[in-house]
Symmetry: C2
Subunit: 651 residues, 2 copies
């Protein structure tokens, strides 16, 4: 076992396709976020989210499950749900990625110690699970619908991939290899013809194949993908679509069922498509992504419309108030879009990643990294209630962020996302560097046949509209610097050599032999804008939201006179929202709140209302930070506004 | 044990308050529905729903549970959920009420035989439950949150009340008395300070007290009510409001949590308020009803906005597409409104009963009485899928009616509702007779100090607008005939002695010494009308529905050109809906269905559309009877319509 003690590693980014793709990822150490919004979140992750998650997993006994497995005291001492093992693996993954860019011997020792406890629980044939297979427990693989046995192994493999990709081949990798071999033995071509109720093993296997170079894991991932959609899982109340076992992935037209399951599965399928050169599968997945984004995605980028089955809704079923938008689905959506971005180079995938990072991932984690939303509603009708600061929360939807949950998949998923955030900023093409996300940062890359490039990016984005890219180091030969102009950006300009030119949304490039110190300036004007929904979305017809750059804004009752309920506010969309140093503002009316009559009438009844001047909005990611509050992203608008019509033109 | 063999009985209506109320119920034999809409449904109930439910309960083993209890083969042979015992009791109740008006020795024998099987399972101390208390089962009363032990007893008591109220005192009554005594022993003043997770025992006890005259059962019901809202049940993910254990009933302002639980509890509280002369509690319940009807009720009368916890939503959270509107909640709502109608005489309660009967109860049961909706959505986006005709359905929301469910509370609840339907048509006041619901029927009543009245009612309502009430028998002295003019009725007229006069919604009366053969004619014009929702209901803003009399109408895709999806239809509310012998029609546009772009935009994009002439609507209760179909009650409207504004005037 090798435990590195210095910061020198051979390290690469989370996903390294085995076959050529349009874009190639950089490594975890190639990019450093040096300041701004995401640096603060990465710090909160390292200083709070990761250590607190570890504390919680000791407190609630999920780590002890491994000790109990080794000590023969299961099932009596078993704590937590059937997927609790995976939480430890996700945290190991987060810690491993974090260690790629940090010298932290204490954290290395933690990883080693946790790995040792996991190792002691592994059985001789490679099987590793604290919930199944012992006397008094259900037999192995007897409950593929709900047991999560293969799901757990998938996360173990992703943790091992993080080790391998950050230059470490340690006991965690060995545990993973034994577990993966066991899975191939049991579920291989001649084995059980089955799939796991929660996709994840596919992702773990294909990434493990990439990291180890052993194609049998890729073949096993493909086998699981091909077996899915055959109805091998039992029928349940919500239908087999919950498990994506209703239709083979090649025949599906849109994501459906449990959102996290659907997104993990489709991300894995993208990897398989890329690594096996399956252009048809890739095209199918692109069409599924398109349909999902056009019809089943919230303005925040959130996915999942149902609390009941944590599932995608039907087309245009996107109610704000019951938006589930599970944090883990946001993570899964970024994983999928990132893979499609690498495969195709299409900036629309980076657009969705940005939207999801700022409006799902960022809202879920409290700025101090100590509490989390499990689901991310767009409309809070009853004032939020603080979660007990030191108690496991039962509820996915109590309104304020909680420190831990009975089902606590989200904190560790955030931890690994923040630990790999640098990976999403840039990639290399055959001709140069693409910058996908803008943050104060340093980017290093080696261009094939050309040499080293080093860029420093200076910006307060998304608070400020100026993004300066300074070439700190460059080969002498020309290369292509590609920048993403977001789809929302109007009147964007690119300044090169002091000459400014307008640029349209999409991928804009500057190809030249850059000199050291040369600066390219991208300006993305942050004029606040009204956004109107497709009138087929029942839940928000006759409303509008405000967006500024990549940020969705929200109205909170703490900003209304007398903390009036947000549902009483009717926005005046004939006046553009304004932005100043004090914030973003809209105007409108505040209606009276009579409530004692049958609400379905032949003649619409007018209600008294008063004009309200200049109500402040809050970035959605920052809502619920100022005490109990009601909240709406989509504000009611005065009826008859052309913007509500589906046939008029915007403000 | 007395098993009557003739139709001669002393029988009274389902609820007979112990204290004087504004209105007094008639008995199960005082009213006969002789034709029309409800006669057909009662026939379907007797000929199909009741016998099929019994068949199913044998097939799925719920009846056998009692044999197994007696035979000592539990828990091995136990089948069904923790509330399956109650299904047998609900069916016994339905059969008992049905026998009040029918001579059917075979059915009497069935009741006797089932009663015997239940009796054999009762333990010496009166405890009766097939799920708890035996070796290998959980101990008695160890899971009050979910165990449904007291809930089951409540339904047993209601079955016994049906026997007593139809003049039979048999073994079923004895079983119930032993069970009720056991409950009083265990949960009395000095007993366990606890409540059942699902209210129902309260209703059973108070009605049993009325039927037996033994006030200890009423006192126990009040004890359970007073204990509720103290947080004695464990906290769960959805909060204690799910069980109505969050707030004492006297402090609550609106119904909340699981809809059936809330409605059963509040119905029982009404009985207790009436029987103990508690005017303050009654007034509190009236206010809760008001708030619930104004803010948490669907246009169909349906209640319950969430699939997840089968619960009321928050104020104005009434999405059509996720409307749960459980059939049993409709039954519970009728039970509550009926009690409030008796207590107060306020016709608004009869209005809601009518709405709920025609648009929840009637839609749930297929016209042939052989299949059922568990939940009653107002918007079906994917074409309905036929349920397997001979299979237990896992799903509450598959779109077409199913013959039986894993949780099959609804068919038996419908069975007992149809068997007691006559009770809701009329009641007596201190001065005469009130007619609440209009059907081809015969009504007999004895007026205090005056004598017998017999009325025959002739009408095709709600298909026809003319209701003729003919006095077939009358005392010589004057008495008051009171008729309900529904809240929706415009230009209604009342004709007495050939003289017609306009009447307004509410309670209209004719007081006189009626002659035999005298006719009173009420005309309730059935002009179809556009109905617009309060703009605070997010889920249906910018839509309209059509109502005709008490019937809500729906648009089904089978009536659109090429079976177009109903979501593409935009109704023209500037033109009144029309009604002819061929049906009810509206006009509008059919939009194209482009679906491949981000649906949140700065400028609303127009979509191509084509005018559609005269689209037929279907009464909501009759939807899903013509094969796979999508459906909307609330049709999208052209934006800018004054009717959508909340400040304009209607069509």
């Amino acid at each position: 076992m090798t435990i590195p003690t210095s910061g020198i590693r051979h390290s690469v980014a989370p996903v390294m396709p085995a076959a050529p793709t349009r874009q190639r990822p950089l490594s975890a150490t190639d990019v450093t976020i040096t300041g701004g919004f995401w640096a603060a979140r990465q710090r909160a992750n390292a200083e709070s989210t990761i250590p607190l998650s570890l504390d919680w997993m000791e407190r609630v006994g999920w780590l002890h499950n491994f000790d109990a497995a080794a000590g023969g005291t299961l099932p009596q001492e078993r704590r937590g749900r059937e997927f609790s093992d995976s939480e430890i693996y996700k945290l190991l993954e987060a810690m491993s990625w974090h260690l790629a860019a940090t010298v932290d011997p204490a954290l290395e020792e933690t990883v080693r110690a946790v790995t040792e406890r996991v190792s002691a629980a592994q059985e001789d044939d490679g099987y590793l699970n604290t919930m199944f297979g012992r006397p008094g427990q259900q037999p192995r693989y007897s409950d593929l619908e709900w047991g999560h046995e293969l799901y757990n192994v998938g996360h173990l493999l992703q943790a091992a991939v993080a080790r391998l990709r950050t230059g470490v081949e340690d006991e965690l990798v060995q545990i993973a290899r034994r577990a993966a071999d066991h899975v191939c033995d049991v579920f291989g071509d001649d084995g059980m013809r089955a799939v796991c109720g929660h996709p994840e093993i596919e992702l773990g296997l294909i990434e493990f194949a990439r990291a180890t170079g052993d194609q049998k894991y890729r073949d096993q991932a493909r086998l699981f993908l091909d077996r899915r959609g055959q109805g091998s899982l039992r029928e349940i109340e919500w239908g087999r679509s919950y498990f994506q076992d209703d239709v083979p992935i090649r025949e599906a037209t849109v994501l459906r069922g449990h959102a996290v399951r659907a997104l993990y599965l489709t991300a894995a399928a993208t990897d398989v498509a890329v690594d096996t050169g399956d252009a048809e599968l890739l095209a199918t997945i692109e069409r599924q992504w398109e349909a999902t984004v056009a019809r089943r995605t919230y303005v925040t980028g959130g996915m999942g419309s149902h609390h009941q089955d944590e599932a995608f809704g039907e087309d245009f079923e996107l109610p704000s108030d019951r938006a589930y938008c599970e944090t883990c689905a946001g993570v899964g959506s970024i994983m999928l879009s990132w893979r499609l971005l690498l495969a195709t180079g299409n900036p629309r995938y980076a657009d969705l990643i940005e939207r999801t990072l700022f409006n799902v991932v960022a809202v879920s984690q409290a700025p101090d990294g100590r509490s989390f939303f499990y689901s991310n509603t767009l409309h809070q009708r009853t004032p939020t209630v603080p979660a007990a600061p030191d108690e496991v929360s039962l509820r996915a939807n109590s309104g304020l962020r909680a420190p831990w949950f009975e089902v606590s998949c989200c904190p560790t998923n955030l931890a690994r996302t923040f630990a790999t955030l640098t990976a999403y900023l840039a990639s290399t093409s055959s001709t140069g560097i693409d910058i996908h996300q803008y943050s104060e940062s340093v980017i290093r890359a080696t261009l094939p046949d050309l040499g080293q490039v080093r860029l420093s990016i200076h910006t307060e984005y998304p608070t400020d509209e100026v993004i300066d890219i300074v070439v700190e180091d460059s080969p002498d030969a020309p290369w292509e610097l590609a920048l993403r102009v977001p789809a929302w950006a109007k009147d964007a300009t690119l300044e090169v050599d002091g000459v400014s030119r307008p640029v349209l949304p999409g991928r804009v490039t500057v190809t030249r032999a850059f000199a050291r110190g040369e600066r390219v300036r991208l300006i993305l004007p942050l004029r606040p804008r009204w956004t109107f929904p497709d009138p087929r979305i029942d839940g928000i017809r006759g409303t509008a939201a405000v967006e500024v750059g990549p940020l969705v804004y929200a109205l909170e009752s703490v900003d209304l006179p007398d903390h009036a309920h947000v549902d009483r506010f009717v926005a005046d969309t004939s006046r553009a929202p304004s932005r100043s140093a004090d914030g973003v503002f809209v105007t409108g009316l505040l209606e009276d709140s009579d409530i004692h009559s049958w609400p379905y009438t032949e003649d619409a009844r007018p209600r008294e209302s008063n004009a309200v001047q200049a109500v402040a909005l809050t970035p959605y990611h920052a809502w619920a930070n100022r005490g109990p509050s009601t909240m709406r992203v989509w504000m009611r608008t005065a009826p008859g506004s052309a913007e509500n019509s589906g046939s008029g033109s915007g403000a």
